[in-house]
Symmetry: C2
DNA sequence: CCCTTGCGTTTCGAATATCGAAACGGTTCG
DNA sequence: CGAACCGTTTCGATATTCGAAACGCAAGGG
């Protein structure tokens, strides 16, 4: 069924690949597509602190269903943002850790957003 | 239909409000919910450069349907991230402009992501 | 041994979000 | 008047997500 052992598929946004809503292939557009999928950013967020197993991710993200979680994990893995260690738990790749850092300003913004409520 | 003239509704994430997937109301969770909706980040991205009309937003975001666009515009407006000027065009609020800045590292990351492909 | 517990994972019908195209009302300009 | 543009709404078709159940596997206890 899937000849690609990496788990990638042609619906996973990657830089250099045409993306939903944009045929330019600009990296930011691929990123906005990938992270615009529900729970995508949240899963990333929960992985910042360190490796987390799939079942614990489900507990931490109340309302996330396992089917969608595994869709996201597949996509993020195919995008080289996360990896899976030998005991099955998921963790950010080197690139993914950078992404976590890139998301810090968003966290800071959200706090200002809260104060301005 | 809607008694609130600001256009807000109880499905629009706001800081201090319980959010899909989290009852803690932590600001970042509300943000991740709001921006995890399809086209949400992209619309924000297209507004960074300045005011844009709805019909032009539709052209810039190939694949975005008008119905969803207006859902997003309503949500972002209710969240005080964007505003609408007198001639109908949309622009970032002060808070929204800060958000645009907070998203810059994501753009930088996406480029590194592209290089590491 | 079996039985329970916890894990990562898959399946599939139901609920919801998004698409896609058409239309409405308003304004401007010829 | 009528064509062209605008912001906006509607609604059936399609895609995504939910939600709960189950599978196979490994570890540990009775």
């Amino acid at each position: 069924m899937d000849t690609d052992s990496t788990g990638s598929d042609d619906t996973t946004p990657r830089p250099g690949t045409p993306v939903r809503g944009s045929t330019t292939g600009r990296p930011i557009m691929a990123a906005l597509d990938l992270f615009g999928r529900r729970w995508s950013l949240r899963v990333l967020w929960e992985l910042r602190a360190g490796p987390v197993g799939a079942r614990e991710l489900l507990e931490r993200c109340d309302g996330l269903s396992s089917s969608v979680l595994y869709d996201r994990l597949r996509e993020l893995k195919a995008a080289n943002v996360i990896e899976q260690d030998d005991d099955g738990a998921y963790r950010l790749s080197e690139l993914g850790a950078d992404l976590g850092d890139a998301l810090a300003p968003l966290d800071a913004w959200a706090r200002r957003w809260d104060e301005a409520r």
